[in-house]
Amino acid sequence: MSEKKYELIVIGGGPAGLAAAHSAWENGLRSILIVERDKYLGGILNQCIHNGFGLHHFKEELSGPEYADRFIKLVNETGIEVMTDTMVLNVTPEHEVYVSNTDGVSVLRAQSVVLAMGCRERTRDSVGIAGTRPAGVYTAGSAQLYMNILGYSVGRKVVVRGTGDIGLIMARRMKLEGAEVLACIGASDHPDGLARNVNQCLVDYDIPLLLRHTITEIRGKDRVEQVVAMEVDEHRNVIPGTEKTFDCDTLLLSIGLIPENELSKKAGIPLDRRTSGAVVYENNETLVPGIFACGNVLHVHDLVDFVTEESIRAGKSAAEYVLGGGDAVGGSDGAAGGGAADGAASGGAGGTADGGAGRDADEPPLEITNGDNVKYTVPMMARLSALEKTLEIFFRVTKVFGEGSRVVVTQGDKKVASFKRPYMINSKMEKIKIPVKLLEGVDPADGPLVVRAEEGGAAHA
């Protein structure tokens, strides 16, 4: 067992982990380790060979592997250590990281940890599709891996359930591979993916879009022979008598992603029911001091560019935590606050006046929460003294908002900020940046900051 203690261990070598590690390096850490279970860095981007990545961050359109490669190159130029083909089995609140690889199982120690494990796909069972259990039912991700990494096609006559970006892109991918795509089916009254993807993947390839429907049954003994779709009402309940059958050999499921927080739970990190990710502060620190989270493990993103942005912040925060002596409070002897319960208050701050960790240890955090028409916010808490120029909040709305709509931030009866939006849709993550100036009159003791969305007109009231 090595006695080495890293300044930072990043769990996950996808875009989130890469950006966080690189950012921590840029911000002064010099002993950083990335642990990745796959044989290569890059995470899920490696199989996303379509374009559309990087428009925000690099101002150019890249494929997934190209986007990942930019960050892998950046990481390779630093002294960041990388351990691939290695699975993290456990993380403790004291920042011990248990790993398994072909050399054995061992425990690594760190002053700080960034969680960047990504997410997994929902399965037919999580949405209750009944019927038989033949071959021919794939999550979009595994079909994509078979096609783009291993070089095999999974079917000839395909139905896609899910109209999010992944579903749309996989529908086109199957078509490009010579398969017939009978329909791309979604339960809401609009496609969940970006408009450009609807055009470039469905319209351009004559793939029928079937909205307000869901798959209820799979038929076929050994291989899928048929799937049954039914219409749903606005509450997503199926309407009896609306069965439509499709003769197909393949069903691709792209019905949502779930942050993979098994390790976070083992580390005693409180999770948020709305995001299925960790509860975090403005700097992406979880309620266990010195453990940060970013990317899809924190909340599901649509754009890797946003993942990058968030992860750069997480990496910087980890660096500040370590350089500010945050870990010294918890003690390098491995008793960093003893878990989650007192995390909210202690925050792992170094207690230094100038705020090496950027904040006052005893400062009560400001709570941030979702109001009308907003599903969740990230972060859920902010320590006001730690903010630099803005408080950045990611959130999702619950429905479609047209021209003139607004995002309004209030505390009690007090309006704190308001932002105009030309268009908002539930499937696309939104972001607001509240200037610190506007938060000057905000006292955490006066209750939570509430983020809500309004239709055009209402905001003038």
Partner: protein, 477 residues
């Protein structure tokens, strides 16, 4: 010429093979499927029932209670996951209380050890997750939960290690009485044997019909389940039954040996091979289950599945010689508690064969043990020792269940190797977790192809025709 030929590799056939493999006999097991135990043994409640259900003096009662004893012995010897968690039958009203008193009496007559009637307070002290509406219960401490498929595999594997032969993809199509032996025709040629045991599960009647009209009728009855995430696995610590009512036999809620929660089954008469699930049935199960355990969070469902019971017009198991072919022994109508009774069925059939004149000389070298690597369960030292031996034990393939490449490779080189994705899953648990193989299926797929020397395109999910892949990229006609 085989001494004994066994049709069916479910738990009934496997236990016969296992019990016979102690003796110096030439034994073969045939199954029509491409893996063992692809019938009822694959999908059931996985309960080793204590034995208070069957009527006293039936064969079922006797074999059930003996089966519990044997299951615990065999599981210990052959490294089968088992947990002696006990079971409770809940009573919600006076009628139910009456019913559990009857079960108690019946159980005592059947020599079920340790039965106890609990009052409300005792019940809730024991199982805090149970509904407040439950007013009493029957506690059966001898009940266990088991991994039924591995139980069957372990017995059959031990039989094979001791010389029994297994022929998969071999469907019996004819049986001919040849006086001093029997000829069994299959799609893979004829087999000759002094005695034939038919343990064909829901197809028992079909096989018997090859000899004579069966004196029973199998009524295939499908039962569906929810298997919930391990986060739900601690809702209860025992198997929780309900009393039968006008709506049916009630559903059970139980932990599994893997730490999940199983909820089901219902009962739907239908096709012998119909293991589909239907929403209406599943909804009814949910509704019934929360009566026992209100806290169950069905959003944590990770898999629905169904199994088909070999129910029949008989109340007891039917284990008998065919009138038209005395060397043919039919093991039929093995409905629940068939899994529990299985090893006792094996013992019983061996006695029958001895009475028929089969000479049973014990084998000189009999291997009665089995061990498989379970990386998740061993100490860190043992884990590192295994990884030193084969580094693939360090590489985790199934992240949810933390199954290593080493375990998969080891399974692919056992005496009864899997050839399919689901075959690997049943042996090592890969793909059993929350992501249901979303991540590991392609990896397991590659390992099977590599280790078995077959093309990726040939690897099936389950039976032939269930190939995962259709064609190489850019090769569509």
């Amino acid at each position: 010429m085989y001494d004994v030929l066994i049709i069916g590799s479910g738990v009934s056939g496997a236990s016969c093979a296992y019990m016979l493999s102690k003796y110096d006999l030439k034994v073969a097991v045939l199954d029509k499927s491409n893996d063992i135990a692809n019938g009822t043994t694959k999908a059931n409640s996985a309960i080793i029932h204590a034995g208070f259900d069957p009527s006293p003096d039936t064969l079922m009662a006797k074999l059930n209670v003996r089966g519990v004893e044997l299951a615990r012995e065999i599981a210990a010897k052959l490294d089968v996951p088992i947990n002696n968690c006990g079971s409770l039958v809940l009573a919600f009203d006076e009628g139910d209380l009456e019913h559990i008193r009857k079960l108690y009496d019946r159980g005592c007559k059947n020599n079920v050890p340790g039965l106890e009637l609990l009052d409300k307070e005792q019940l809730h002290a024991l199982e805090p997750g149970i509904s407040e509406a439950a007013v009493g219960a029957l506690l059966a401490p001898s009940a266990c939960i088991i991994n039924p498929w591995e139980y069957c595999l372990a017995m059959l594997e031990t039989a094979v290690v001791n010389g029994a032969e297994l022929f998969l993809d071999t469907e019996v199509t004819g049986v001919t009485d040849c006086g001093d032996h029997v000829s069994v025709e299959t799609n893979a040629g004829a087999f000759e044997a002094k005695y034939v045991l038919s343990a064909a599960g829901v197809h028992a009647g079909d096989v018997r019909r090859l000899v004579e009209e069966p004196p029973y009728e199998i009524v295939p009855t499908r039962g569906q389940y929810f298997l919930l995430d391990k986060d739900e696995g601690t809702r209860v610590s025992r198997t929780i039954f309900q009393c039968p009512n006008e709506k049916g036999k009630g559903v059970l809620v139980s932990p599994t040996v893997d730490g999940n929660l199983i909820v089901g089954p219902d009962a739907n008469v239908g096709g012998a091979d119909d293991t589909s699930t239907d929403k209406a049935g599943l909804d009814a199960i949910k509704e019934a289950a929360v009566k026992s355990v209100p806290g169950i969070n069905f959003r944590m469902n990770i898999r629905n599945f169904a199994g088909v019971r070999a129910n029949s017009d008989q109340s007891d198991f039917v284990i008998e010689k065919a009138a038209a072919c005395p060397r043919f022994i039919d093991i039929a109508c093995i409905k629940s508690p068939g899994l529990t009774a299985a090893p006792a069925i094996g013992e019983y059939v061996v006695e029958m064969l001895a009475a028929e004149g089969l000479s049973l000389a014990e084998r000189d070298s009999y291997v009665d043990s089995r061990k498989r690597p379970r990386l998740g369960e061993v100490s860190e030292e043992e884990r590192n020792r295994l990884i030193q031996e084969d580094p693939r034990y360090g590489r985790i393939i199934c992240r949810c269940e933390q199954v290593t490449e080493g375990e998969i490779v080891a399974a692919l080189h056992t005496p009864i190797p899997p050839t399919t994705i689901n075959g690997v899953k049943r042996r090592v648990g890969s793909g059993m977790g929350r992501c249901q193989g979303g991540f590991c299926t392609p990896k397991v797929h590659e390992i099977i192809a590599r280790e078995s020397g077959v093309d990726m395109l040939e690897v099936c999910l389950e039976e032939p025709g269930s190939e995962i892949l259709k064609y190489r990229s850019k090769e569509n006609e």
